[in-house]
Amino acid sequence: MVHIKRLQESGTDIIAVIGEIDASSSIELDLAIAKSVGEGFKRILVDCHALEYISSAGLGVFMSYIEEFRDKKIQMVLFGLKEKVVNTFEILGLAELLNIRENKNEALKLANELSV
């Protein structure tokens, strides 16, 4: 089960993911990101503080946006990942494809730098 909250801060969309993302709940994450893109946000931060587990399907959601974000010049930064979750990203090699930062400030800074 996953709970997703969205919060907007000065043109940046912050998506907070709470709980576990598996095959069925990955659809909700996909919807949230798609909505954010649809609303025209160029900076998207994903708050993973409360993300306990992510399955391959959940990783697939992040993965599927990489190219779209590159084309649309949208910057997505993940932050606050638990060690176990980071590990999952690293094993799959997704850590190199995504922007991952320790905390919100760093993530925001990176997003601002990249979008210049």
């Binding site: 391959s56 697939g60 993965m63 599927s64 690293e90 799959l92 090699g93 190199e96 494809l97």
Partner: protein, 688 residues
């Protein structure tokens, strides 16, 4: 069946013999009496023979009419009518013969008169007994215990009367009167049973009236014929079988006539209300059609059509429409004797006048919206009744019935159609549930196939070498995953190994797994560097993996000539390697993104190949995340450390033993045989 047929014939033969005996004995007695001679036959013979004749006929008709289940009410009356017709025709033939004989001596002969009279009497009795069998069926329709008893008493009394007649005993007048009174009361009590009349439709009622009328005509004719014949004989002599002395015939005839008259009157008075009864019956039938429509493999559409037709015919509506939101959110419109435009006009009119009713599927009450139609111009309809169709507490549509008359619907009609609408809702709900169950079953069947496919994709035999041995294990959860492993010998000193995990589950996972197998078998043979292998595999998979799907894989080439392993990891779980020398195990965490993650040539920047030497006694364990992510009852994960420990415990053992230990520890840890992900591992033990 055969027995019945034989009995029918036997009773018929019996009755013929009895009658012939009766005829000849009676004529002999009459003739002797006229000649003043002592007859050779006993005087009681005709009486007894009449009794025997009646009993035989009774059983004959019992088999013919009473036990024939195929007869309906009009058939029964028709049987009586047909018997009457035949007997009348026979009687008329004899009348014609008498007429043709004119005033000849034979015609005026008393003995010949008796002959004719006895024939007519026999025909009359025949007719009465046939009617008795039919009346019995009619009276005992929807019988109660009490009614059966009454009928039995009546039959016993009739039999008693018959014995009384045959014996020729004469009781006093009082006894006679009392008996007649008792019989009269019984006949009246039995004649009150007219339940069958209610089940006749209008046409059948008319037919029954006609048949009954003709039956009365026959009876009158026979009584007249027998009466006149008896009168003329009685003038000559009294030594013959006079039906007027036969109480049985009198009683039976009165019963037949009384019940006949009762039936006639009841049917006659039921004629005006029969249409109501028919309508009720039709409602029941319609109701049944709706409830049964689900069982006869019909689709939702036919349920709607039946609902529309049934509702219209039950309330005599001039037109109707049915608007339904289907399971896939599509709107369907069914109309009856009206165009869709007309219905649209009415709906728009109601909407315009802001009338809240069921037509705006917001409320669930049946509404009579007739009064709102009055304000609508250019419409031929003046009455409107609307019903909601509810499935799973959700309003899925509206049934609207229209009439050209104002105030065309009454409460009764509203109630009936609302029952129809409810039943249709239930039918549709059942139908959708069935569809769901069917889909589920199909999905399960698909999974089964996928699982078989998945199993068949895994190798049955693994490559072995003098330098190393390989053992593999794979257990899959109920849901099909996409774990894949395989080996391939490139040449005499090179062997390729692969382990892969397809993201997602079910049939697509099995499908991607088969693609991976194809890629492995075609690319590995070309002796590519592991990095090149990954790049090409990625390039091939980009075209078949859908958005968000990927495959993690590790590819190894073991070179037994140089004692080296060259490998590349593409997002797969790091391989566990135990060095025999240091007795330390470690995970080889190299850089590498899973196949399908980067869908361009740039992938080469995200994958690398590495190389190391192996020594005898080294062990390499390849596995999928199902093993490291297996959970204990406390929710803890098996993890890398426990896996390494399971290997170290049996470091010196062969590949199969190491694998067995890992699996044993894994099951011990999870505490259950029911796994929720696929467990796959491939263990390589080097001998050198």
């Amino acid at each position: 069946m055969f027995k019945n047929k034989a009995l029918t014939r036997l009773t018929f033969l019996g009755s013929v013999i009895a009658w012939l005996t009766l005829l000849f004995s009676d004529i002999t007695i009459l003739f002797s009496n006229l000649q003043g001679l002592q007859p050779d036959v006993p005087l009681w013979l005709p009486r007894v023979m009449l009794g025997a004749y009646i009993v035989c006929l009774y059983y004959y008709y019992k088999f013919r009419i009473e036990l024939d289940d195929s007869l309906n009410f009009t058939d029964l009356l028709w049987k009586v009518f047909a018997t009457g017709l035949i007997t009348t025709v026979v009687s008329l033939v004899f009348r014609l013969i008498v007429f043709m004989l004119g005033k000849s001596s034979l015609a005026t002969n008393v003995v010949f008169g008796d002959f004719i009279c006895q024939i007519n009497l026999a025909l009359l009795v025949n007719f009465l007994i046939a009617a008795l069998a039919s009346w019995k069926r009619l009276i005992l329709y929807q019988k109660s215990k009490w009614l059966i008893r009454t009928w039995l008493v009546f039959e016993f009394i009739l039999f008693g009367v018959l014995l009384y007649d045959s014996a020729g005993i004469r009781f006093s007048e009082t006894v006679n009167t009392t008996m007649k009174l008792v019989i009269g009361v019984l006949v009246l009590a039995l004649s009150a049973n007219m339940r069958w009349v209610a089940y006749l439709n209008f046409k059948q009622k008319w037919t029954s009236l006609l048949l009954l009328l003709l039956t009365f005509f026959y009876l009158t004719y026979f009584f007249y014929t027998v009466e006149t014949a008896t009168e003329s004989i009685a003038k000559g002599s009294s030594a013959f079988l006079d039906y007027r002395n036969q109480l049985f015939i009198i009683v039976l005839a009165s019963f037949i006539i009384i019940y006949g008259i009762f039936s006639f009157l009841v049917i006659l008075f039921n004629l005006p209300t029969s249409s109501v009864f028919e309508q009720k019956l039709e409602e029941v039938v319609n109701f049944q059609r709706i409830s049964q429509s689900i069982q006869t493999e019909q689709d939702e559409e036919s349920v709607y059509n039946i609902l529309l037709e049934s509702s219209v015919s039950s309330v005599f509506a001039d037109a109707a429409w049915l608007e339904i939101t289907g399971a896939a959110n599509d709107r369907k419109m069914f109309t009856y004797r009206m165009t869709e435009q007309e219905s649209k006009n009415i709906r728009e009119h109601l909407e315009k006048n802001n009338i809240k009713g069921v037509l705006d599927s917001g409320t669930e009450k049946t509404k009579n919206l007739s009064k709102h139609l009055a304000s609508m111009r250019n419409s031929r309809f003046r009455s409107l009744l609307a019903f909601p169709i509810v499935v799973k507490e959700e309003n899925i549509g509206t049934l609207a019935l229209l009439k050209e008359l104002p105030d065309g619907f009454n409460k009764e009609m509203t109630r009936i159609v609302s029952t129809f609408a409810n039943q249709a809702g239930i039918s549709i709900e059942n139908f959708r549930l069935m569809e769901e169950a069917f889909q589920n079953a199909r999905y399960k069947e698909e999974l089964k196939i996928a699982k078989t496919v998945q199993q068949s994709l895994l190798p049955t035999k693994l490559e072995q070498d003098k330098d190393f041995e390989i053992s593999a294990f794979s257990a899959s959860a109920d849901e099909v995953g996409g774990d894949y492993y395989d080996t391939l010998r490139i040449n005499d000193h090179l062997v390729a190994l692969i382990i892969a995990d397809v993201s997602g589950k079910g049939t697509t996972a099995a499908f991607h797994m088969s693609q991976m197998k194809g890629i492995f078998h075609s690319l590995a043979q070309q002796h590519l560097d592991p990095k090149e292998f990954m790049q090409r595999a990625n390039q091939a998979l980009v075209y078949c993996l859908e958005r968000g799907s990927f495959i993690s894989a590790s590819y190894f080439i073991i070179d037994s000539a140089e004692k080296k392993i060259r490998y590349s990891r593409a997002g797969h779980c790091p391989v566990l390697y135990l060095r025999a020398g240091s007795k330390e195990s470690s995970y080889l965490k190299d850089k590498g993104a899973a196949l399908g993650m980067v869908r361009s040539k740039e992938y080469c920047n995200y994958v690398e190949a590495n190389e190391f030497s192996y020594a005898p006694g080294d062990t390499m364990v390849l596995y999928t995340d199902g093993i490291t992510e297996a959970k204990s009852s406390k929710g803890e994960e098996f993890g890398n450390e426990r896996l390494a420990k399971a290997l170290n415990e049996v470091a010196g053992a062969n590949a199969k033993e190491i694998e067995d230990n890992i699996i044993k520890r894994l099951y011990e840890f999870s505490g259950t045989k029911n796994i929720n992900d696929d467990y796959t591992s491939m263990t390589v033990k080097f001998h050198g």
